[in-house]
Amino acid sequence: MSIEIKGLTKQYGEMTALDNVSLEFEKNKIYGLLGRNGAGKSTLLNIITNRIFKTSGEVLVDGMNSQENDKAISQIYLMSEKTLYPNDMKVKDIFKWSQKFYPDFDEKRAYELAKLFELDTNKKVKQLSTGFTSIFKLIVALCVNTPYVFLDEPVLGLDANNRELFYKLLIEKYSEEPFTVVISTHLIEEISSIIEQAIIIDGGKILVNSSREELLQSGYSVSGKSADVDSYISGKEIIGEDTLGGLKTAYVMGKPRADMPESLEVTALDLQKLFVKLTNTKEVK
């Protein structure tokens, strides 16, 4: 059971938003769908959930075609950046209707979370700040109990405390009862410790689709005195450098040499550095 995407293409006139994308979201896994602004992340999620139409290709949810198929799309909840709930609707009414449309929606838990986030459920959508708008949508996403939950830029406008609380609640819920979570974001650092699988999308194409471990093992960072680091990295594929006074950190692709000089320290690669390197190819050239 999974979501299979086969040769998905979406064109807006001359512009190709998704170019022959094929991938699979397996059951009970946390995915990071990473990409720069306009990379095609939201387009992909919107096609899977039947909000927009593909130009060609196929999306199968547990083997069912997702286009205009209530049974297939009801398996997925997409918390989108854009608010689709009516502006005049109160948060408590949104909880009520979520329970009707998604029978497994846990309304009691939703009120508990609203209390935790200090969200006034008597407020209308139009009365909420950007942060609280994200919060009420996150609460629905955390209580909807569908097998697949897509979160498109979930922490938009949230302060540090609420972001931390959300990630904690997400991990708690996932630990209690695993489900498939796809977090679409360009804030790599925040989710790098949560995700199991990273999908990097750029210009409508999938650049990387591998486990976080595999991805992080594809390189390393080396730190030390600038002269020592420069000498070591000479002739190697470098994806970035940070210099502070006489100290330097270089991000290197490949495996570290066995005869690493003692003056240098080797640590694991930074996912964000790797992302920037992979999605910045045009500038590098």
Partner: protein, 253 residues
């Protein structure tokens, strides 16, 4: 299950506006009936409430789409389920509006004819009564029956028309929306009459009115023709609305 919930959602969305509409109707009737309560020989006739119902239904048809459609996309409801539920709710709301109107007019007649002694006459007459039944008595069953049927059929049609127009506006760009909003009334109210007057000596519009009068049975006083015409118009508008909505995407702005 999703059809039922979508239907209930769309139906409940109408309850508050219906309550407001009938609160206004009752309040205005009470206020305007005061002279009849004081002066036994006064006669007061109110008309146009059925026309107000049709305007209300049209506005509801226009307004509901922009909020209901995104809400259904958010809750993983397909367009076909949303549209099917919409049709069901339109029929139901039209029936409710018609039943309330009929009950209201009967109640007003009953109150002023029988309940309050020495009161004046307060009459509520509808546009359809004036078109098809101006020779009938006040308590003609066939008049009430046909008036209710025609209000219902027209209400269904104008609501679907509102949805169709809203769908067209949703799917077209800003420039096209302006062209449609300003261009269509301009064409019908100014340009065509001018062309008609200049080149056809007014016969074009005369023929159009004659055609409308015939298909709606106004000249022959045959309300069944209007019922058939409204039904045909409803089918055409519903099909057109579905063609517009079936591929409507979520809008980002």
């Amino acid at each position: 299950m999703r059809l039922k919930n979508s239907y209930l959602y769309q139906l409940k969305g109408n309850f508050k506006p219906i309550t407001i509409f009938y609160s206004i109707l009752i309040s205005l009737t009470v206020v305007t009936s005061i002279p009849a309560l004081i002066q036994g020989d006064s006669f007061f006739q109110m008309s146009g409430w059925d026309f107000a119902i049709l305007i209300f239904m049209f506005v509801m048809g226009c307004a509901s789409f922009n909020e209901d459609f995104p809400m259904h996309l958010q809750n993983s409801v397909s367009r076909k389920t949303y549209f099917s539920a919409k049709i069901l709710s339109v029929f139901c709301v039209s029936a409710i509006m018609t039943a309330l109107y009929t009950a209201f007019t009967l109640a007003v007649h009953f109150i002023f004819q029988f309940l309050i002694k020495n009161a004046g006459v307060v009459e509520i007459s509808s546009m359809f009564e004036q078109l098809y039944f101006h020779g009938e008595g006040i308590f003609s069953f066939s008049m009430y029956f046909w008036t209710a049927l025609l209000i219902f059929a027209a209400a269904v049609f104008v609501n679907m028309l509102g949805m169709f127009i809203s769908g067209v506006f949703y799917r077209t760009g800003k420039l096209m929306r302006i062209l449609l909003a300003a261009g269509f009334p301009l064409l019908v109210i100014m340009i065509l009459p001018l062309i008609d007057y200049t080149f056809f000596g007014g016969t074009l519009y005369a023929e159009i009115f004659k055609f409308i009068g015939n298909v709606f049975g106004i000249f022959e006083q045959e309300p069944w023709k209007a019922l058939v015409s409204f039904s045909v118009l409803t089918v055409v508008t519903t099909v057109a609305a579905w063609l517009v909505i079936r591929k409507a995407p979520m809008k980002n702005k």
